[in-house]
Each structure stands twice: as C-alpha cells, then as structure tokens.
C-alpha cells in the first residue's frame, strides 16, 4: 500500500532524511523508533504533505505518487496523521470541525454526507468507548484541552475518519498510564486487514500495548535496523546507543 524509496528531506538547508526505504502492506502495523533528532517527525510531516521541506525520492500510495498530492488530497484518500502536538483552533467547534472533515472524506469515497443527528449518534458512541466527556464536542478544537485530552481527541478523529493509513506521531508522549491504555485500546480496535498503521515513537511502552508487525530503528535520517516486535523490547533494555553504534560499525 505504501512504498517509500530513497526518501530525502531537508528544511532550510539542513538535511534530515537521507534516503529512507520503507514498505507497508495492507493491514500491517509498523513502528518507527529512534532517538530525538533522528527525523521521526519529519517523516510524518513529509508523508502528510507539510509545506516547507525539500523532498526527494519516491513515495507511492496505492500506486499513486503521494508526493504530488496536496495535504487534503492525501487526507481524503485515507491518510490520517495523529499529531504529536494537536493544534488549537479557537472559535471552531469540535463537532463542526469533525463533521466537516468526515463529510470531506465521505465525499471522496462517494458516500452521502452524514446529517447532524446521525453524526452525533455515531460520535457519541465512539466517545463513550474512548472515555471522552460528551461536552467535548461543543468546545473549540483542542482549545484549552489538556495534553491527554488532545491525544484522545486525535484518536477520536482517527476512529471517526476510518483512515486506510494511520500515522501516529508520538501519540504516546505526555500521557499517563491510564490515558495511554485508552489510546492503545482505541488504536487496537482500529486494527483491520485493510488498514495499515505507522506508529512513530521514542518510547517502546505504546508498543507493549499495540504489538506491531514490524519495528524499524530510524537514525540520522535512515532506517538502520528492522525486525519484529522483539526489537522494541531489545531497545528498551539496551537503549538506542548500542543499536546506533552497531549499525555504524
């Protein structure tokens, strides 16, 4: 489904990704781990079309050139990014925002827009599952939300938008153990044979709860090691330093 080959990216003259290769098949959950500054956030930004990067290499998504698409085009075709720092948009109601996004995605899929009542019913079910207060919907998007609330809101959006490729950028950072479990449960529920996931994280603790099919170690803009989920455990014990050193030698 996603085929990344020789991906490079630089911003303001600084090269961050230096030829990254990655293949994700439908239904697979991949984790990309790496120390700070390895290029993890750049990878998610480049895959979702954030402006400001000089990008090289190829990325095909369902056989199409992903890099040629606008951010919204990628979104309606099923790529979802759970932001590391979800953005606050004062004055824009959470419900209104989510319904507009959902109907944009539905429009692309050739489905009718959801009316407000149906939307509300579906949203409330999902919120109950994610342990989110219903008052959430009437607040402004992420405005004044706590860190945990923001992350849950991301998972709620992901659940509602039913993406084909979900990218979770450090979704586990800043969460206490209870919130982490809620998020992990939400992610696990979304696993399905036709949905792929890319979990980007610094810490292996989310991976204990969501067992990925493949784990990659990103360092200095390249994937230096890949393996199954036991690689994550190994990193937890040994840290990144030895892996990075081993790859360099």
């Amino acid at each position: 489904m996603l085929h990344i080959q020789g991906l490079t990216a630089s911003i303001a003259g600084t090269t961050i990704l230096r030829g990254l290769d990655l293949d994700i098949a439908p239904g697979e959950v991949h984790a990309v781990m790496g120390p700070n500054g390895a290029g993890k956030s750049t990878l998610s930004n480049v895959l979702t079309g954030r402006e400001g990067y000089e990008v090289g290499g190829t990325v095909t998504y369902d056989g199409n050139d992903l890099l040629a698409m606008s951010p919204e085009e990628r979104a309606v075709r099923g790529i979802f990014l759970a932001f590391q720092y979800p953005v606050e948009i004062p004055g824009v109601g959470n419900m209104y925002f989510l319904r507009t996004a959902l109907n944009a995605v539905r429009h692309e899929r050739g489905e009718d827009p959801l009316d407000a009542m149906t939307f509300l019913r579906v949203a409330k079910e999902q919120m109950a599952a994610l342990d989110i207060d219903p008052a959430f919907l009437s607040r402004s998007v992420n405005s004044g939300f706590s860190g945990g609330e923001k992350k849950r809101n991301e998972v709620l959006q992901m659940t509602m938008l039913e993406p084909r490729l979900a990218i979770l950028d450090e979704t586990d950072s800043g969460l206490d153990i209870d919130a982490l479990r809620v998020v992990a449960d939400g992610v696990s529920r979304l696993r399905s044979p036709d949905r792929s996931m890319l979990i980007i994280t610094h810490y292996p603790r989310l991976l204990d709860l969501v067992r990925p099919d493949r784990v990659h170690v990103l360092s200095a803009g390249r994937i230096i090691r890949s393996g199954d989920h036991t690689l994550a455990d190994e990193l937890e014990v040994d840290g990144y330093a030895s892996t990075v050193a081993a790859a360099a030698s």
Binding site: E51, P71, E72, A75, I89
Partner: protein
Amino acid sequence: MSDVVEELVEREYAFGFHTDLDTDIAPKGLSEDVVRLISAKKDEPEWLLEWRLAAYRHFLTLDEPDWSSVQHPPIDYQDMHYWAAPKPKAPGPDSLDEVDPEVRAMFDKLGISIAEQERLSGVAVDAIIDSVSVATTFKARLAESGVIFCSFSDAVRDHPELVRRYLGSVVPYRDNFFATLNSAVFSDGSFAYIPAGVTCPMELSTYFRINTAQTGQFERTLIVAEDGATVSYLEGCTAPMRDENQLHAAVVELVALDDASIKYSTVQNWYPGDADGKGGIYNFVTKRGRCGDRAKISWTQVETGSAITWKYPSVILQGDDSVGEFYSVAVTANHQQADTGTKMIHIGRNTSSTIVSKGISAGHAQNAYRGLVKVLRSAEGARSHTQCDSLLLGSTCGAHTFPYIEVKNDTAQVEHEASTTKVDEDQLFYCRQRGLSQEDATSMIVNGFCREVFDELPMEFAVEAQALLRVSLEGSVG
C-alpha cells in the same frame, strides 16, 4: 498562503442591482434652500427646521476631519443630491398593500421580503430606500405593548414631543463634521420608543438601501428605552454597484434610561467598490448611546461593505453601574479601507465596558481599529477590558491598531490586549490533514476567529453574518 493571495479574484457583490423607481429628487448641491426644501417636503415643524438650519450654519464653519487613517479623493459636497425619494404611487402608504410593487420586488430580491418577514419571522422591519422609509411592519402589534416603531418622519409628525426631547441629546448637531452635515440634511430614518418597564416583544429591524445615483444618504436613527425597558434592534444595509463613490453619513442616537437595555446590531454590506477599488460607498457614521443608572448598551457590528468605513459606535456611561459593550468584526478586502472602533466614556461609579474587535484584512485593504477608553475622576470602581485582534490574509494589506486609554481614577481597572497575525500555518495544515480544502480551512479558521462577536448577534443574523464573511473574502482565501 502566497499563491492563494495571487488567486485574488474579483469579489462578486450579490446586491449590486439597481431598481428603476420613479424618484423625486432635489437638485444637486447643499445650501440653505436645500435644507429648507427637505424640511418642507417633510412638512416639518418650525423648531426642527431651525435645528437643521443651525446645524447647516455650523457646518459652514467646519473642515472635513483628517485624523483617521482612511484616504480618499476630496468629496465635493456640492456635487451630490441631498434628497431623493421613491415617488409614492398613492400618497403615504398606510399598509403594505399600498407599497409600490417595484419597491416590494426590490426587497424580495434583497432577501427581505417584507410581507414574508411579517408573516414568518416575527421581526418588525422598517425599510428605507434612498433616505425615505417605505414600509414599517408590525406597527399594530407593537403598539399593544406601547412600543412605537416608525419612520423618523412619522415620529416627527405623530410624537413630536418625544423627538424634540431626545433629538441631538446624545449626538448634538455640533458633534463632528459628518454628524453636523447629517443634522442639516437628514431625510428619514427609524424611530423606536420603548416605554418604561416594557420588553419589546420582537426584534426591531431596519433595512437601508441606497438606490438613486449621485445621492448622499443621511438617515437618522433614534432609539429611546425608558426606565427598565429592553429592546434589540438590527440594521442591514445594501446599495447598487456604481463606479462613483456615494456618501453615507448617518447618525444613530441611543438613549437608555435607568435600568434600560439596548442591543444594537449592524450587518453593514454597502457596496464596497470593485476589485480595482472603483466605486463603493463612503460610510461616515456617528453612533453613540448614553446610559442611565444600571443601564446597558451593547453594539455589535459586522462590517463587510463600503469602500470606506469610518465609525466609532460609542457609549457614554453616565449612570452608576452602567454597562457598555462593543463587539465588532470588520472585514476589508480588495481596496477597502476601514477605520473603526469605539469610545467608552466612564463617568458613573462602577461602570464597566467590554470591547472585542476582530479585524480581517485581505488584498490591498487597510483595516484599522481606533478606540478610546476614558475613565473620568468620578468613575469610581470602573472596569474596562479590550481584546483587539487582527488577522492578515496576504502580504499587501495592512492591519492597524490605534487604542487610546486615559485613566483618571485609581480605583479603575483597565486592560487592553491586542494581537496581529496571519492565519496560522499549523491550524491550516491541521485542517487540511483532516481533508478540508485550503479555502474551507481558511474560512473555518476565520469564522472561528470571529466567533466571539457572531455569538453576540441575534441567531438568524449570525448565520447571515457568517455567510457574508465568506462571500466577502471569496477569492482572498483560497
């Protein structure tokens, strides 16, 4: 954003049609004779003619003010008509059925079907074309609660004692250049009077329409809420597309006696001129209210139209514990200029004022907030808070903030906050990552930016205001 800005297309003005009405029009130019003519046309009492003439004589001593940031070629006050009125088919329409069908057709086109409004929405409407009131609805039902809502001319005829007592009591004829001009030549406008203790049973609304070419529009609105009375009033404005600039110099006076409350909302959509800045209304307006003890005056304005907007709806907080509010969204695109804001004059004890101003500037427009918060020595315990934010869409427009705060009482607490930014790139990207187009995302963010002000509008107009905002910025944002 930059490529978006380059896509700037001409904004379509939906209300730019002109209706051929048989019009009674005075010769061009301003003179004592014209002032007398206007007064005579309206069968005015002698005292009102004298008041007009006093204003006219004072006007001759004044120069056009130059302190604001707006720029325009000199206005030739002799090269416009000061009186134009649709000729009634029958003398004085007493019911809607007698209103000229073409006038009614025009209002239908504006989406203000007077008859429909009367049946459905429960909003009393006064419709004013080229300075003359053509229809006021719901008079009878309002009269049951003692509320008077009629054209200014009718008020002069039927309630001269009220008009005489309050006319010029908040905006005296010597107030400023444009108010003085208005005082001399005002043609019509709306009058509302809510007796003591009465809560007006419905929204009052006036729609203003400039129709005739080369005509200045000078209407005058006077709203009096007696002790404990409450009223909500809304005005809307449109004009045809013309290459020339037309002058609109209105005066609005609000009198809120003890414990009274007046909410005054404006959705101003005069023709803004074309994409090159040709044509459009020069909107120089004086609006002011005076509060008695515990009274409240709240101004809400959504200003999207006019080539130039120059207005500072103000509140004189004379009574103890009185409250003044100003909520404003001012949108300028293409070559529009706005210099708008408010004055809050704290005189009474424990008076409070709230100012929320949202300016949005796109294209080559210049958008300025100008405001004064003045706390006099007598205003023990006064409170004032100002939040004043500007949003820039494109690199060729300007956003300016010119606040003045003068405090002469140490128990006062005055705060002013302001910010100026462009649309946040992170917010845009977040919305687009969720599948929204750049235009939808920008529109959503801009609406969110204005939310606090829209929330102050009566429900049905809040929706209209949001739609208007979108139309105004069309092409500027995506």
